[in-house]
């Protein structure tokens, strides 16, 4: 780890000022990803700005009937908050599907959005990686790519975003509140993370020096019919091969509205308006779900090690939408997939 200077801010303005004064500075909240990457010499900040004292750890109702989650709310506190459990159980479930309780106790809501990929080549500083070192090449395209993307990848990068929480935030259509030196702004969740294209070094559309201050959830929470289904190599504490967040609203046996997103398959949580449109007005059955899954995966492209993911993703979508329709969400402590 390179040497760095440590600074601590106790209000947002201080933190932004410190960040603007030093373009290689990084904010630290939980530190669960940043410190790991610093040990591996992948992240090399010359200054660390500790934002843990900022007053961004509240969960509040919004006037519009939603919820505003401060960026520093720890993952455990978010998942266990009574309003989240009651109104947005898909978010609580997705959080509990990720990491370990120790890490969830440390990790912040804002930091979860800013997690970097777990691609082994990104972590291994002696191999080429366009995300770590732009222009050096992608080792994963012809390398070990079992965990990698099947959607939205480019020749420059086939890494996936590792978050579970973000897959739920995608279907909840969260809004990301951001503060910068010159202005505050709100970013729709779908526009927050980027596809790799030719600049995989940029994971998100945050500008340099900007900070996430809150995650806002609109009122619709799909609290009756939802699930978060995660498939991984071991039964707990592993990144997703494929995961699905799903929420449905039914009118009798017909789907009034539905949303679903895939995790573990792309550089960002993967949603498709056309696939969701194929749910509306249709009977909530396996045939409808399979058709929607087919649309979602119509442009899927596999690599040598991850061909299984296309079929796995299709089946997971059908299973997740079935769980949601039946009102029987996956229980994260249960290792039986219902």
């Amino acid at each position: 780890m390179i040497n760095f200077r440590y600074a601590r801010a106790d209000n947002v303005a201080d933190a932004l000022r410190l960040a603007n004064a030093d373009p290689t500075a990084k904010f630290v909240a939980g530190g669960t990803n940043l410190i790991d990457l610093m040990k591996m010499d992948v992240e090399r900040p010359t200054k660390i700005i500790d934002i843990n004292r900022l007053p961004l750890n509240q969960i509040e109702r919004t006037p519009r009937g939603g919820l505003r989650i401060g960026a520093l709310v720890r993952n455990t506190d978010l998942a266990y908050h009574p309003l989240v459990e009651q109104l947005y159980p898909v978010l609580a479930s997705a959080i509990m599907a990720g990491a370990s309780q120790q890490l969830r106790n440390m990790a912040s809501a804002g930091g979860n959005l800013l997690q970097r990929t777990r691609c082994a080549y990104f972590y291994d500083s002696v191999t080429p990686c366009n995300k770590r070192e732009p222009g050096s090449g992608c080792s994963a395209v012809y390398g070990h790519n079992r965990m990698h993307a099947i959607l939205g990848a480019s020749d420059a990068c086939i890494a996936v975003h590792p978050s579970d929480m973000c897959v739920a935030l995608a279907i909840l259509e969260a809004k990301i509140h951001v503060s910068g030196a010159s202005a505050d702004r709100v970013i729709d969740f779908t526009d927050f993370h980027r596809l790799p294209g030719n600049s995989p070094q940029r994971d998100t559309n945050l500008n340099p020096g900007e900070m996430i201050t809150a995650v806002e959830l609109p009122p619709r929470g799909f609290s009756k019919r939802y699930t978060y289904l995660k498939i991984r190599d071991r039964a707990s504490y592993a990144f997703a091969l494929v995961s699905v967040a799903a929420g449905l609203e039914l009118d009798g046996t017909v789907i009034a509205d539905g949303r679903f997103a895939l995790g573990g398959v792309a550089h960002k949580p993967w949603r498709d308006p056309q696939a969701e449109a194929a749910l509306r007005g249709r009977p909530a059955n396996a045939e409808t779900f399979a058709r929607a899954a087919g649309i979602l995966l119509r442009d899927a492209k596999a690599y040598e090690g991850n061909r299984f993911k296309i079929d796995l993703a299709r089946r997971c979508v059908v299973r997740a939408l079935t769980q949601a329709a039946h009102g029987t969400p996956q229980v994260q402590s249960s290792k039986n997939i219902m």
Binding site: Y6, R8, D36, A99, S100, M106, A235, S333
Partner: protein, 166 residues
Amino acid sequence: MSSNLVDAEASPDLVQLTLTINGARHTLKLDPRTTLLDLLREHLDLTGTKKGCDQGQCGACTVLIEGRRINSCLAFAVMYDGAEIVTIEGLARDGTLHPLQQAFIDHDAFQCGYCTPGQICSAVGLLAEGRARIAEEIRELMSGNICRCGAYTNIVAAIEQVMVQS
């Protein structure tokens, strides 16, 4: 600028902080790169907390900060200035083992013992959270602690015993 702003620019190498560890107050000057784990083991000779993977994947370094279990390997000590920390060395009271320590002995919940301090601190955190009611939930919420000897069955039994008692 607020008065509480700490900026190490004035002294780029060392940062001063105060921690309460197992009830004892420590005022320290540290290289900001020092993890809480290395502080405990290398500076304070509290070697009960173990370094396994040093990447947050094994749980051997689990300690309690303000009563919550965390991975001390992924924590810069300076970030926890003012915090109260409990390690495996701080669980026994007046020569009497913590109920979980006793239960781990009763159930033979270890073989080599390297993961055990982390397992026990994690289990203390688990009981404080009050979220696990059945063995399945204990297993899920203890999944951040790896035991390569494979003592999991007995670890779950030990935790269940204390859960029933409390």
